[in-house]
């Protein structure tokens, strides 16, 4: 009965059973050779046609490479192999296309930021300096960022943690479903909307002035859902056997949570909180609406305008002269360093505190 099927197959279709296991292949050096050839041809075209942008050269080279590979493979190895190679080259092109701008971003920030970055920059404020003047520093912004982010963490971490405990340990029914849904929605709130909310509530309705605290409230709104999400994940990883073992000993549920569940997952929870801190440390928009910015040191987050690192970058960028740009790049370097430090620390903790068997 199999022959009946075989006979009906169109001539051009490849049968399921190849006549031989051997398959004509392009030589191993072919991809490299085609890549070099394409690059050379692209450069030649670029020079001859007088194309200014290097991006165009790259584009031509990539197109040539993909097209040539596909054509050659189709001829030698067949359509399926050609598609496979096409996918491979596209994936590589994607990778290169993404690496170039991201590497450039990091490189520009480090290179341009390093020109001005030194101890003086970290320990002095902009007090008494005009935008057009050289010098100055980010001390006042650093203080502001640390205080605002600290306050935000003080609000958001406990609230987020308790909410996560509620969702994982107690939550049932409609309320838990609603909370889960709105945590998701809250994750997507644009930072400027959070800023507008605190603006209309704290500054317009209650008539308080601009302050670091007002900014911290907006940052807390942004931070809370991130903390809930990551804590939830961590609590779900705690095996139920641990809870049951504790409950079976007659330990009440709330003590089980405090003494068994939370300590087991504390490493992961800390990591999540720190990653959330890193996220909000770079927020600019709420600061712009609520903290107002300042050029001198204000150590009191509850009274009067403050500055913050990301806001400092924005004001210096807007000032629009070379000295201000230098300060903006240097501040960007400080901000990235701060965020990266938090990230690395958080990941370090995650690795160090990772639940081990028999721990």
């Amino acid at each position: 009965m199999s022959h009946a099927v075989m006979d009906q197959r169109p001539q051009d279709a490849v049968g399921p059973r190849p006549a031989t296991l051997r398959q004509a292949r392009l030589p191993r050096w072919a991809p490299l050779g085609i890549a070099l050839g394409s690059a050379a041809l692209a450069i030649a075209t670029g020079v001859l046609a007088d194309l200014q942008s290097r991006a165009q050269w790259g584009l031509i080279a990539a197109l040539l490479f993909v097209a040539t590979t596909f054509a050659l493979t189709t001829a030698v190895e067949g359509v399926r192999q050609a598609k496979d190679r096409l996918a491979t080259s596209l994936v590589w092109v994607c990778f290169l296309a993404a690496v170039v701008p991201l590497a450039s971003l990091v490189w520009e920030t480090v290179a341009r930021g390093a020109e001005m970055f030194d101890l003086y920059f970290l320990t002095h404020s902009m007090s008494g300096l005009r935008d057009l003047q050289p010098g100055g520093g980010v001390y006042h912004s650093l203080i502001g960022t640390l205080q605002q982010v600290g306050l935000a963490t003080l609000i958001a971490a406990p609230l987020g943690l308790l909410t996560a405990v509620y969702l994982v340990e107690y939550g049932k029914g409609k309320l838990a479903k609603a909370v889960t849904f709105f945590v998701d929605v809250m994750t997507g709130i644009p930072s400027i909307v959070a800023g507008l909310f605190v603006l209309s509530f704290w500054i317009i309705l209650l008539d308080f002035g601009y302050s670091g605290w007002a900014g911290a409230m907006a940052l807390a709104i942004l931070m809370m859902p991130i903390v809930v999400r990551s804590t939830e994940e961590m609590l779900k990883l705690v095996p139920n056997e641990l809870r049951e073992a504790s409950l079976a000993l007659g330990v009440p549920k709330w003590r089980t949570i405090l003494k068994v569940v939370l300590p087991t997952s504390i490493g992961g929870i800390t990591t999540g909180v720190m990653l959330a801190v890193a996220r909000i440390a770079g927020e600019t928009a709420p600061i712009m609406l609520l903290v107002f910015g300042a050029s001198s040191i204000n150590n009191n987050p509850f009274e009067g305008p403050q500055d913050s690192l990301p806001y400092f970058i924005w004001t210096q960028f807007k000032a629009g002269n070379q000295y201000a740009y230098d300060r903006a790049w240097a501040a960007a370097l400080v901000l990235i360093a701060l965020v990266m430090l938090l990230n690395l620390l958080a990941r370090g903790i995650a690795r160090w505190k990772a639940p081990k068997a028999g721990h």
Partner: protein
């Protein structure tokens, strides 16, 4: 929430041999009081979160009504923003256009590339390269948006003119890609910067999903004689589809609401410019940042009204993403 809660109800006080310290004869009621207080506390936090969400909607609406009641223009169709004038005339048409267009450009550029990189890391890159690469991209997701904006405005913008002239030469006739040679502080540039900004996050989420594809599904395809690409098409992409959608929605949410990267790069105007390469246009978030300092009371409320629209849009996008994912889950066999 698909977790199975098999936590047994707290056993009654029957004085187990290893009673925890601090427990006494009145343990029963103390246990209940402790449990009630603690669970009340956690429940209260959850409710606080809901209250905050409700308050955001309520307060934004309250200020918006204040502004809209005096608006002489049509809030949705007016191509102008004179909220501080008397009488105030303002509308969000230009902002809505700019927000949607820049986000669409960002998605169109970022999602395919992000899926490509995610596949590169999960299935193509040599293993020694893959994990450090994933780590670096993870870190890049944490770079603040103001830094992307600074880089975009001071580094990328000057480098784009060449590309834009070239696009103008070949596609200028469409009008969309017409370019008159000014600084490239346009919606298209905004789209590029937003794309680069959301690339790491979309990549990360997609990569994680691709790595979760069960080995047995990939081996099923391999054993049928599938090439690497066919394995990806038959096993990896179907399995990862809902993950890629949710990653894209996450990226879209960020792009829609992004303030600083747009405010630094764009040279705004209250016109809908048919050419995406020439400066002009605006987005909700950018307009709030740009107009806030000069705004009077009504001006501020008008900006809050535009913020409310942005809030609703992101709400719809996020809610939609959740629904897509929930529905896909039934078919994807992710739990099978």
């Amino acid at each position: 929430m698909d977790m199975t809660k098999t936590v047994a109800p707290p056993p009654q006080a029957e004085l187990p041999p290893e009673a925890p310290k601090g427990s006494s004869g009145t343990k029963g009621s103390a246990t209940h009081r402790g449990d009630r207080i603690f669970s009340g506390l956690t429940k209260g936090s959850g409710i606080t979160l809901l209250v905050i969400m409700a308050a955001i909607a309520a307060f934004l609406t309250w200020r918006s009504i204040n502004a809209l009641s005096v608006n002489e223009g049509n809030f949705f169709t007016t191509f102008d923003w004179n909220a501080n004038a008397d009488p105030p005339v303002f509308g969000i048409a230009v902002l809505a256009f700019g927000t949607v267009v820049s986000s669409v450009i960002a998605m169109a550029l970022a999602v395919p590339v992000a899926v490509g990189i995610a596949l590169f890391i999960s299935h193509y890159a040599p293993r020694k390269l893959a994990s450090p690469l994933a780590y670096v991209i993870d870190l890049l997701a944490a770079v603040p948006s103001i830094v992307y904006g600074l880089w975009g405005a001071l580094f990328l913008v000057p480098h784009l003119s060449g590309l834009y002239f070239w696009l103008d030469d070949y596609f200028g006739w469409t009008g969309v890609f017409a370019y008159d040679g000014g600084a490239a502080r346009s919606l298209f540039t905004v789209g590029i910067v937003l794309a680069i900004m959301i690339l790491p996050i979309v990549t990360n989420v997609s990569r994680e999903v691709f790595l979760q594809v069960p080995r047995m599904h990939e081996e099923a395809a391999l054993a049928l004689g599938a090439t690497r690409w066919e394995v990806i098409r038959m096993s990896v992409l179907p399995f990862g589809r809902s993950g890629v959608i949710s990653a894209s929605m996450l990226g879209l949410g960020r792009a829609l609401g992004e303030t600083m990267a747009v405010a630094t790069v764009l040279s705004p105007s209250f016109l809908i410019n048919p050419s995406l390469l020439n400066p002009g246009g605006g987005t909700f978030a950018q307009n709030i940042a740009a107009g806030f300092n000069e705004a009077g009371d009504i001006g501020r409320d008008a900006l809050i009204a535009s913020g409310l629209v942005l809030f609703v849009i992101t709400l719809v996008v996020n809610g939609g993403a959740r629904m897509i994912i929930a529905r896909r889950k039934e078919y994807s066999g992710a739990n099978a």
